[in-house]
């Protein structure tokens, strides 16, 4: 079984990250933005796992870390969607460009 080289993982992670970044910065729908953020997180997880196998000192820490980050990502998504829900109840919109109260 020929193994996939480290570059393969990294390039996949890069592509995933860029898609996520693009989505996070351009989409109007907040749900999609949140999904894009998840995508970026997963790109990072992929990197962690890849390095835990192909890094200079391969060990399990990377994989453990990715488990942590998946957990935290879930929690973060829950919090994010909760905020979004309450915002939706108040403002009747999920469009991110209408939420500009940060400047006030």
């Amino acid at each position: 079984m020929s193994s996939v080289p480290a570059q393969g993982y990294l390039i996949l992670a890069l592509i995933l990250f860029c898609i996520g970044l693009f989505g996070a910065l351009t989409k109007r729908n907040t749900i999609i933005v949140l999904i894009s953020i998840e995508l970026m997180l997963n790109a990072v997880n992929l990197n962690l796992v890849a390095f835990s196998k192909y890094g200079i000192n391969p060990n399990m820490t990377g994989q453990v870390f990715s488990l942590f980050s998946i957990t935290i990502a879930a929690a973060e998504a829950a919090v994010g969607i909760a905020i979004l829900l309450s915002l939706y109840r108040n403002r009747r919109t999920v469009h991110i460009d209408e939420m500009d109260t940060l400047k006030h």
Binding site: L21, A24, L25, T26, V33, I96, D97, M99, D100, T101, L102, K103, H104
Partner: protein, 612 residues
């Protein structure tokens, strides 16, 4: 006594300070207080002069200002010339103070008036005792201030306001010349003290051409102060001030300061042919120029003012022709008889409440003492034999002859003739005629005494010519009194008497109709009456061009500078606006910016291979 000389100017200063600070309370006694203090000054002056006969020169100075390694001094310097000026100034000032007691009468602001007189006297006394040019310049400006304040004393009058401003500014133009002159002298000699400057002149320390240049610059100052052409126009306007002021400032003392400046810096002038020549020519031109204007003016005081300008021209002419003693002697006699004329004129004006000689039309004949006083002054200024003016004028003619300035001598003689014509025109029109017969207001005694004293001096002071020359000669070897040959004395007397007779036939016997004269020489008359249109000329050239430059600057300010300002402000605003677009509250924009920023940093890192 002489070591207390520094006190002399302080008494009038004290008078100024006391009256300006508490004038309202001291209104009634203000005049007496001021006169008393001036009187003390005069007594001190006499004491100093008595000492000067044996000491001949005295100097006491203190450090006033240190510039690097140079100390600039202030103090008192006394020599025969200063002593003479001290005497004239304190004496005339005292008389004018006494005269003013009557003249200002119940004027509401008389405390202020006497305060200003004190300030002026202080400055003038300080001026004549200056040991160096910078102190001289300071007091020179301060006398200008005194003159300015007193010309503008009737400050509700628009004309007084204008005249005061004109006087200050015109003399300041001259002062600027003086300032440049003294600064140049400082860099040539490293000192401003008169004695050190003279040493430098003697040892030829000046760069080539600098002697002439600095002398001419100093002379420009004198031109402004002494009302010489072309800066003379302020002096006739200065007659807006109270008449005693005209007698003190614009006849006897301040306007003579210009002449004094040339005399005080005489070694500098003697070192330059050109400078002397310019002094003489300007003096001669002013003398005849002002005399012709004096012929047709109708205002009593203005005629006297033009006569002052003309006589000051005489003094300059004398100094320019090497007649040091002659010039100073004429300055002295002129101080007496011109002060006399002004004070007598003041009595006329106060009694009759008018000063246009056509309106007066002989009404002055009722004022006996004034009339005789004025006659004495008129005869003296016309050079009537054996009166003071004849001696000093002859000394001037003699100096011109000695110097070989035959052209200028001719001008001077012609001016002498014109002088007696216009002065007797004035005298006849004021004191002879059929004007109203009602006896005018009487003149207070305090105004009569100075007139009598000055009349006596105007008559007799000429006999002291020789003693005067000896007095000045004690210090300066160039102080020589020239004596005229008999034919010159004869010619001068003839011209003077001729002028009197000429005026008599026109203005008393009315042999020739004046209106007819006016029509025959109408263009000449118009030119003379409008004083050669000099004022109009200045108005249309200098003043207009200054205003034009001002407006040019104004539009530059408005369109160029304001545009720059608007651009600067606009640029900042635009940058702000662009910046605020990033601050729109949308998370996505922030994220994009952060990403771009990161990209830039990474790019730099990659390209440069490090942070910097």
């Amino acid at each position: 006594m002489i070591s207390f000389a520094w006190l002399i100017p302080l008494f009038p200063l004290l008078s100024f300070l006391v009256l300006i600070l508490s004038g309202k309370k001291l209104k009634t006694v203000s005049g007496y207080l001021a006169s008393l203090l001036t009187g003390i000054s005069f007594i001190f002056t006499l004491g100093v002069i008595a000492d000067l006969r044996s000491v001949t020169e005295y100097e006491a100075t203190w450090t006033w200002l240190t510039i690097g390694t140079t100390d600039i001094q202030a103090g008192v310097w006394l020599n025969p010339l200063n002593g003479l000026m001290l005497f004239i100034v304190s004496f005339v000032s005292l008389l004018v103070h006494i005269y003013s007691l009557g003249y200002m009468g119940e004027n509401d602001r008389r405390a202020t008036y006497f305060a200003y007189l004190g300030l002026f006297t202080f400055a003038m006394l300080g001026l004549v005792m200056s040991p160096n040019l910078i102190q001289f310049y300071m007091f020179w400006e301060l006398v200008g201030l005194g003159s300015f304040l007193l010309i503008g004393f009737y400050l509700y009058k628009e004309s007084a306001k204008r005249a005061a401003r004109k006087a200050f500014i015109m003399t300041r133009i001259g002062d600027a010349g003086l300032l440049v002159g003294l600064i140049l002298i400082f860099w040539q000699t490293g000192s401003l003290s008169f004695t050190e400057i003279f040493q430098a002149v003697e040892q030829n320390e000046f760069a080539p051409g600098m002697v002439t240049l600095t002398a001419i610059l100093l002379f420009i100052g004198a031109v402004g102060k002494s009302g010489q052409f072309p800066l003379h126009t302020w002096l006739p306007d200065a007659m807006e001030g109270p008449t005693p002021v005209s007698a003190l400032i614009h006849a006897a003392t301040m306007v003579a300061a210009g002449v004094y400046l040339v005399a005080a810096a005489y070694p500098l002038f003697l070192a330059s042919e050109w400078a002397l020549m310019i002094v003489a020519v300007i003096g001669a031109f002013t003398a005849i120029f002002a005399a012709t204007i004096g012929l047709v003016q109708d205002d009593l005081k203005r005629v006297l003012a033009y006569s002052t300008v003309s006589q000051l021209g005489y003094m300059m002419l004398a100094l320019g022709a090497g007649g040091y003693v002659a010039g100073m002697f004429h300055l002295t006699t002129h101080a007496f008889f011109k002060a006399l004329l002004f004070l007598a004129a003041g009595s006329v004006i106060l009694a009759l409440r008018k000063q246009n000689i056509k309106e007066i039309a002989g009404e002055g004949r009722h004022l006996a003492i004034t009339k005789w006083g004025f006659l004495a002054g008129t005869l003296a200024i016309s050079g009537f034999p054996l009166l003071s003016g004849s001696f000093s004028k002859e000394a001037i003619f003699a100096a011109l002859l000695e110097d070989g300035q035959y052209g200028l001598l001719g001008v001077a003689l012609l001016t002498a003739f014109l002088t007696s014509v216009y002065m007797f025109r004035l005298y006849f029109m004021v004191f002879h005629g059929k004007g109203a017969d009602k006896p005018p207001k009487s003149v207070p005694v305090s105004m009569k005494i100075p007139v009598i004293i000055l009349a006596a001096l105007a008559v007799i002071s000429g006999f002291f010519a020789t003693g005067f020359a000896d007095w000045l000669a004690a210090e300066q070897e160039y102080a020589v009194l020239h004596h005229s040959p008999t034919w010159l004395i004869f010619l001068a007397t003839l011209l003077s008497l001729g002028g009197i007779v000429f005026a008599y036939f026109i203005y008393v016997r009315k042999q020739m109709d004046r209106e007819e004269w006016k029509t025959t020489f109408s263009s000449t008359y118009t030119i003379l009456y409008h004083k050669y249109f000099i004022d109009e000329f200045y108005q249309n050239t200098i003043i207009y061009s200054t205003r034009a430059i001002s407006y040019l600057m104004y539009y530059t300010e408005r369109y160029v500078v304001e545009t720059i300002a608007a651009f600067a402000a606009g640029m900042v605003k635009e940058i702000g606006k662009t910046g605020s677009r990033l601050q729109n509250g949308r998370v996505q924009t922030y994220g994009t910016v952060a990403l771009l920023g990161l990209a830039v940093i990474v790019l730099i890192f990659v390209v440069r291979g490090g942070y910097f």
